[in-house]
Each structure stands twice: as C-alpha cells, then as structure tokens.
Subunit: 347 residues, 4 copies
C-alpha cells in the first residue's frame, strides 16, 4: 500500500464567455485567498483557470457560486483510501476462514429473514452442501411498511451464530442502527449495510470503528462513485475490510424490482482495490432471472454472489419470489463453478 | 378523523394461462390456511382469485412465490394513517406559532449549514424582513465525502435557537442519527429528516416518539408511495405532525442536480391529508432556476417553499451554488405573494 | 441576431496521472495533425492540454480513444443557432395569426386523435370560448401497439383544417414519416414532432426544409441539451420557427405516466432563445394532475400550455384518462389568466 | 407455431372505495356497450369488475377515464406474434449462412462507421480471423449533432457489401429513413434499426414488408415490453426474422454511456421466442468495460454479441472510445468461446 500522495486536487474553473475582467480578477483573488495557485489560460472566447492546491481548502461548490463562473470541473477522484491508486493490487477481505477478492469468491447464501432455527438449519445444510461458504440471514429487517415483519432481533442473531458454527460457515447479517452495532458485532462475522443505509453516515462511522468486515450494498440511486465514497467513510475510520455489493438500482423498467448494473463490477475494479460481489436476488426480484444473472456476475469478474435461498419461498415472511429453492441453488452452483474456472477464480 | 376501517386489504391473484388444477387448488389451500376467503373467477383462458381478509395475515410476496401464480396485485394503498381516506380534510401542522397546510404556507429559509452566529444573524434578519416564517440551518451535515465539513454540532444548534428566538421564527434542523434526537429536540421546533435518511427506519421511529414536528424529505429514488410509507412510520409511533418535502429525484438529466417532480404535489394531495412543501434549492442545485421553480411550486398547490439563502454563497461551506442572495430572496417573495393570492393561500 | 462567431470550440484534454512523456507527445502530435494548437499545462500530478481550433476538425471521442488520456472535456455548448448567444432576445414564432414567445402564450388544446367532424367541432367550439388559441388533433398516431387505432390519415387532416378555419384557430398535428411532410404541410399551420421521433433526424431535416412552424417535443430519455441539438437540426436546414415542448421524461415513479421536468423551462430559457411550452397531459397521464401542473407551467415562465381536451374522454379512441372535459378546461383557463398576469404574459 | 388463440384479453376494473351504485352501473353499461361480458365481484369495501372479450373492442384507457374507476389492470401481454405463447421453441433467424438463436451465437463486429475500403478491409480480415461471423458498419449515421459526420451513404454500402463478400461474412447496417429501405435492402443481409428509431413505426412497418432480417435495438427509455411491441410491428407485417438487441438504457450513472440491463436477456427469453443479442460497446461506451460485459452476456444466455472494432480508434470518425482494437477482440473471443461451451452455445 502506498503513501497518501493524493493531497493535491486539481480543478479547472471555466468562466462564462462574457465574463468581465473584474469578474475574472475576483475569481483569481478568491482562489489566492484559499491559498491556491491559479494558472490562467486566456482563450479567444473564454478564460480558463487551472487550480492546484491543498484539497482541504478547496470548495468547488463555493467557487461555482461566483458570478462569471460557468463550471468548476474537479479533475481527480474524491476518494482516496478506496482508490486503485492507493492500493494497486486487489485487496483480500477475510471473513472467518473465508477469503474474498483477488481470485477468491464469496458464495453467500441464506434466507432473507431468520424465521426459526428449524428453517435456517434446513437451508444452511443444503447450501453448505451445494458449495456456499458464508451464511446470511436477517434479524433486523428494513421494511417499507411499519406493519410488515421487522425481524426476530437478538434471538435471530443467536440462531444465526449457532447454525453458522454448526455448519462451519461465517455469518453476515444486516445492521440498521448505530446503537445495534455492539450487539450485532457480538454475533456476526460481517456486518451488512443495506441499500437504504448506504448514506447513513453515522452508521458507516460506527462500523468503521469495529474490526469486523463490512458488506456495503449500493444505494438505489447511488452512482459507483457514491458507493466508493461511502466505503471511504468506513475506511477512514480505520476499518479496511470492506466488500462492495452491486444489487441493482431504481429504473423505469417495471418488470424487474431493480436494474442490475453489472458493468459496475469492472467499473469498480478500475477505480478501486476493494472486492465487489453481486446480489442478483434483490437486483431482479425474480427467481427465474437469478441463475443467469449469477453466471453473468462471475463471468464479469465479480468476487462473489449473494443469493437468497429458502426451503419454502411461499411461506417466507419476506421476499419469497426472489428466493431460490435449495435444489435450484445446488444446480446453479455446478454451473457457477465452470464459469469460475474459465475466469480463473475459485471458492 | 375517521375510525380505522381499512383493516381489510383486497388482493387479486392472477394465475398463469397454463396453471394446472392442482396448482390452482394449492393456491386456494394456501389462501384458506392464511384464514382468508378466496373468490374464484374461472375465465376462458385463466383463473383469477380475489382475496379479502385481515391484512396482517397477507403476504403478497409469499403468494407470488407459489408455482402457477403469475401476478399478485394489491388493490389498496399500503398506508393508512397518512391516507386521504383516514382524514378527508387537509391536516394543519403547527411549528411554533406557524401553521402549515390547509391554506397556510411555510416559508422556510436559511443557510445550508450554520457557520457562525454573525453569518446566521445577518441571513435571519434579511429573510424575516422578506417574509420567511421558519428559519433553517444545518448543525449536523450529511456529506458524501468524509473529508467535507460535517457541521458545527451542538454549538450550531445553540446559535440556531438563539437567532431564531431573536427574530421570532421557529427553527428546523436536520437530525441524522437516532442518538442525536434528544439533543436536537432540545433546541429545534422541527426535525428535518434528509433525503438520504428517508428510509432510515430507526430514525423515523425515534422522531415518531417525540411530539415535535417532522419535515420528511423525499429520498432520491423514492416513489410518492415510498414517501408516504415513511411518513406512516412516524405517524404509527404517535406523532402526527409530519410535513412532506419534494426535493427532486435522481435522473439522467445532467444539467440539474436532481429532477424536481412537481407533480408529486397534487399527487400527494390526492393520496394524503399531510402538507407537502417544495425545496427548489436541492431539487435543481442551480441558483438561476430557483425563483421560477418556487413560483411554480406555490402555483401547483404546495404548502410552502424551502429555500437556501446565504449572504455570501461563494464563501458558504457547503452548497453555495444553490443558495439565493438575500435580496434575490426578497424580490422572489414579492412574486410568491401574488401567486399565493391567486391560489388562495397565505403566510 | 448575431453573426456566427462560435466557430472555435475549446476543449480540455486531461491525461492520466501515470501518462508517460511518450503518450503525452503522441496526444500533442495528434492534436497538431488535426490542425489545432495545444496549450500544455504540466501539473505536479498530471498534465492538462487545452485545445482551441476549428470545430469541424475536432473529434473529442477519437481523442478520448488515445492511450494515456483520461477525459476530454468540451467547454462549449454543441448547439449554435439554438443558443442564447446566437440571439440574445427571446424569439417569437408565428403560427397563423398567433404569436408564441417573448410574452405571448400559446394555448394549444384539442383531442388526442381526430375521431369525427362532430366530436372535433364540439371540442373546438368549447376550447375557443374558453380561450384556447391553437387547435390540436392527431391524424397520424404513433401507437405502441400495431393493433391500436392508428388515426384517420388525410381525412382527419381535412377535418382539422376546416374546423380550425371555422373557429379561427391555426392548427397543429403530428407528422411521423418524412414522406408525409408534404401532405401534412398542405393542411396544417404547425408540424408536431412527437417524443418518439425527437431523434428521427431525417424527419427533422424534412420539416426543416419547409417554412411551417415546428412543435418539437422532448424525447422520453432526452436531456435538455439533446432537445436543443434536435432543434438545431431543424434550424440548420433554414427553418427558424421552432417551439420546444417539455412533456415529461421516463422515470421510476410509477404513479404518473412520465415525470414532468418543469425546471427544463427556465433551464432552456438560459441556454436558448427559442420558446418552450409545457404539455401536462402527456407528462402526467392523469386528468387530476393537469390543472395544477398547467398553472405551475405558466408560473415557471413557459410560453404556453398544451392540453388534451375531449368532450367524452371515456369514449376517446386514445389517451382518455389524460383529457380534460371542456368545462374543466374553461375553469382552468380562468386561473391560468390570473397567473399569466402575475408573470407578465398574455394570450 | 401455434394458432392465434390470444384473441381474448381479460382486464380487471377496480372501482374507487366511494364509487356510487350509479357510477358502477355506468361502468357496467359501458362495458356491455363494447360487447363485453362483465363479471362483478362486490367486496366489503370496493367493487371489482372482471371483463373478458374481443380485444379489438377493448380500450383500457377510455374505461379508465370513467368517473368512479380507480384502475384498469390488463392481465395479458399486449404482444402476440412475439410472445413465447405463440412459439414455445426458440426461433432461429438466418442471416446469409449464419444462424442466430437456439444455441447459435451471432458474433457481429466491425467499425461504427464505414470510413474507407482500406480501413474496413483491415478490420474485416482481423475480426473474421478472430471468429466473428457477421460484419457491421454504418453508412447512414444518426448523429446528435447536425454538424457531425453523417456517414458515406451508398458508397459506404457498396464497400460494406464487397468487403463482406470477400471475407465470406453477411453484413448488417443501419437504416434510418423508410425511403432508404430499398437502397439498404439491395446491399445488406440484415437491417439494423437503431435505438433512436425503435419507435419509428413507419420505419418498422417498411422493414416488416421486406424479407431481410432485422436487428432491432432497444430504445434508450424503452422497457422490455416496449421492445417486444416494436418487434410486433415488424412481425405483424409478415417479416418474422427479428433479432432483438440490448444496448443499455439511460440512467443517472454518469460513468458509463448507458446502463446495460443484462437481466433483459433472460427476461426476454421468458416472454418471447425471438433471439436477443447484447451490444456492450454502446451499452458502456468504454473500451475497458467491453470484454467483461461480453463474457457476462454469453454467460447470461444471450444469442450473440455485437462489438465495435476499429484498427485505429483514435482516428475513428465516430465513437472511438468504445471500439476494441483487433488484437483485444481476438483475445476476448478466446474467452467467449470457453464461456459459450459452458452454456452450450456455439458459433
């Protein structure tokens, strides 16, 4: 890992075609006031000012507020610790005995919500046999409706831990409230930050202060850069074990729950050293689309796949239609392994 | 206000064209198992099952997971306390001495972030004179970057309270973390829940347990129904003083920060009794577009307008380009009053 | 109107942080090969090259394809004849005796499709009385389904012309195929280019070669700049009588047909001298939302409103739910006039 | 292929909770007037009316316009000839000697625009050697700007034909104007309908009347159902040789040109018998993302991949940054073949 050399953020300030000399001078004064060195380039039709300096002093938005300024274009990425420049090789995140990244695939599976020990037990046995290496299950559920099932709470966490241990799989579960972090930390090997909380910055800071791995899901309207900025919140608190998760974004297409942005996988790989996995269950919301999207995810270079599996989806207390049956999961895993071989990954 | 008569939620279950009799019977069994009465309608090409029963037993998603089922269509709105059926007349929310809704406009203004007593004082004096009736200012700021200015915290709250009192305006400020609720409650007259936290359900429950008004901003990818469901979280905890805020959603249009969905105003008015205001500052992110969007908001029937005003936008520590100068705000308010007259509103 | 002075397009080429001197030299060679003068600015961390030259030689995309280049940022707007720089004052477009723009409002109304002389006659009489000044009606209909009603064709055009003449209103109707242009030109005062054809460039060129006014609707996924580029196609063929129309764009919000981007009105006014009107009928697809959106449109500074009116929406052959009844239109127009007075417009 | 048995379209009409008996009767009268049989289901809180009848008489939108009606829900798909019900097995489309669909992959490659015989010749030799089986190249180019290179026209078509013949590859090229159809038909083996023309219905009808294969690209804001409805236009004119193409849709994500909706592949496979290929070049607009998205496409079950290849992207007259170099294409094809083997496809 490199030394933090990205202290200096260049920006380009483009003035309006009709900017007066007085306006230009005002911009230059303001830039110098911020302790920065302006480089003026007087074109035939407009003036362009390049600025390089200490980023903690730069406020692109306030510069853009000056009369006569048309655009302020930041040139560099706003994240550092998450950036590919910061770590040229792929990071590996350890969850229990499972490695994620740099060729190691996370095969996360389990029910949406933990409903009972019996059901979870049955699912865990089946997915383990099929090849899953991490068990998931929700104890605290973010539900759009206050009247929907909200999860089993600590009792659910206890069941998850015990079932995971019995089947030798580390466990991941969602945390929604900064006050729950110590409780969840006690039972889980990996925190999941859900899409709705991707920009719950106090929660990000709280899990950033632990030393447990974090599975950070992309928000429904978050760009790839927003996702990396949220990862930066966790990293900047000292926790470097962050795994990103593409799970679809909101779109006008009404036949799927979300739109899976699979290009985010190579896109993130270019910008960041962090592992990224894909969740085709939430991305599509449709059981019939999950297998092909899981195969496509591995082919695209993802570091794992997160799939909901339920032994009786029609009785699941949440998200039934997007859960695979255990035998469908087992069949899928046979194909996943072949695709993983082609792209040089293993699990 | 009415008695809670919406206990029964009708749904329509549409079977696939090739559903077998056995599959149909399985669906019927499952419906009866849930304690519901199915009404079967056997068409020439498909079977359709109507279901009416106690909604706490209905799990549309789990029904959709049954083999042979094509679609499960819920017929009724998923929110109750927020619904127009629950309260046929427009609700009025009281914030200090200011009324919002049913003809009363909230004219909320102030800087994005509280930066110092001097700056806030100067802005408050100017907006009060121009006609604003509620002062806003952020003490805790949700920032995309962990390296950006995060707000003054309690010191900011104290300044806000004092400046509000001096200029006889109630104050609204953002709360981001359930743990901050008691602190913010001590100083503010109204909690603001930001767009990024619209589905931070623990935070919604926490402010729902206070008796202070809540300004709930629409999430960046939230539908109008999602917004009303989030309001339902607050209402279902016993706090009925919720004001909604349309502030633009994410879109492909790159020349504005968000896309202002102004049709959300009459749309919400049809579905709910709650007041809804508009924030053209965050919706457009461009100072030049704010005045016309503020006028349009009042003409569309909004119950108020939320505008960022800063005496020196180019020195603002956040969101400079979307703040109006005090004199531009004063000019705008002259026009707003005329439009308010036309649509029969006052402030 | 000004002389065409925008021949020179400045661009900024930002090189990657690790670009080698050889790569930089290759970019400079390529720029010079295109006959342009590069201005190099060597920063501590990256090199930035400013380029100014004859735009017909500039191919930003091909420059971006060079190894070592991170971004190519064009600085100027890609449209000329449509730009505010080209004509600093607002253009007025004449349709028959009706003026549109610079304070004159177009009040376009009529049924979605022309169905019979009787129905159109009844609607025309009602809207004229209410204050409409242009009659609309479709003779060629773009329908998503090949099995839906496709319009009356020339017979419809003839009826439209006669009914318009009888009620002293110029008429506007959609043209979908370049081969129909001469036929439609014979009957109509204004061509409508529908949202689906906004980038049907051969059609744009064809109407650009006539001297009839063009009502250009924004495409469902078009940015404001895309809309202005399409206007540029018409203008560059010599036809300067273009009126833009905001009619909503596709979004994730499912309770309205499209999302009305009302901020496009002041946005276009800043970028272009062309008039822009709003169509709340197609933008919302819901009769209950049209009146408030029509008032908001005029308040926002739009140069007119396009509303579907039908005397019996439940028997309309297309788009019934988004048509106002004649008496609702008349009521709305009373309010529109008051808002128009406030913003200094008339019709 | 089946007999057309989908004549009857069921719909569900949901009345408002407060609908009066008079309003209900009016709906029933209207339904009977249309020659349809209503099935009334009177619930405790609302009335629901099921309607089954001759679809040519059904106008859901006009029913929705009736006072008292809340929603009209069509139950069946609006397309027929394109539907999976119409043809249960996968269709195979023949282009020259190349088969597409049902296990046969189309490997379409070539430059965005035909620029000269020499360049095309060089590219064609390289891609043929790498395994491409269809040559693409644009002679008529849809360009956002009227000032951009518009293509070589007939001279380009002639070159394309000759180079295709020389290298024994059928050729595909875009047609933009119904008047160009006979000319393009003379030279090409397959028409391409571009994203901007997906709902240019006159153009769809025109190619529907030929017997040449059609490559129909998804529009930038088109849903999967919209795409199938456009295919239905071609099919309903008698031309059944339609290949669909997913090429990304517009979204808020700014780091890629479009958002590739790869789930559209299995989604279409469920709804339709038509082959569907993927174009990662236009979908991402970024050369670095193409290889992984090409592999993912084949893994997802697509019937082919359409990739832009240029021997000197930095000199390409359009879309340079999204073209692969010939050797990168050759490398990619080695991987594609392995993934194709896993999913049981060949080319």
């Amino acid at each position: 890992m490199g030394v933090l050399t990205l202290r200096l953020t260049p920006m380009i300030i483009v003035l309006k075609p009709n900017a007066t000399q007085q306006e230009i001078d005002h911009v230059l004064d303001r830039v110098r006031e911020l302790g920065l060195k302006p480089h003026v380039s007087q074109g035939e039709h407009r003036t362009i000012i390049g600025v390089i300096g200490d980023e903690t002093k730069l406020h692109p938005q306030s510069l853009q507020a000056i009369v006569g300024v048309e655009q302020v274009l930041p040139i560099m990425k706003p994240f550092k610790l998450a950036s590919r420049e910061w770590n040229k090789s792929d990071s590996i995140v350890q969850v229990g005995k499972v490695k994620i990244g740099a060729g190691y695939l996370a095969m996360i599976a389990g029910p949406c919500a933990i409903e009972s020990r019996e059901v979870l037990e049955e699912i865990a046995a089946a997915i383990k046999k099929a090849g899953a290496n991490i068990l998931r299950g929700g104890a605290f559920k973010p539900r759009t409706s206050p009247y929907a099932f909200q999860g089993m709470g600590e009792e659910g966490l206890r069941i998850l831990r015990e079932v995971g241990d019995k089947h030798d799989m580390p466990v991941v579960t969602e945390v929604m409230d900064p006050r729950q972090v110590p409780l969840v930390e006690k039972y889980a090997d990996m925190f999941q930050i859900g899409a709705r909380n991707m920009q719950n910055f106090d929660l990000l800071k709280e899990v950033g202060q632990t030393r447990k791995a974090v599975l950070l899901k992309r928000g429904m309207a978050a760009t790839v850069k927003d996702l990396l900025m949220s990862a930066e919140y966790v990293l900047s608190e000292g926790n470097s074990a962050v795994v990103l998760c593409e799970r679809g974004v909101r779109s006008f297409e009404e036949s799927t729950r979300n739109m899976l942005d699979l290009a985010a996988v190579p896109n993130v790989k270019g910008l960041s050293h962090l592992p990224i996995i894909v969740d085709p269950s939430h991305a599509t919301g449709r059981r019939d689309l999950i297998p092909s999207m899981a195969l496509a995810s591995v082919a695209s270079g993802a570091d794992g796949v997160h799939i909901e599996v339920h032994s009786c989806p029609e009785k699941a207390l949440s998200d039934g239609p997007q859960a695979l049956l255990p035998n469908a999961y087992a069949e899928l895993m046979l194909q996943v392994r072949k695709i993983a071989d082609v792209v040089g990954k293993s699990y």
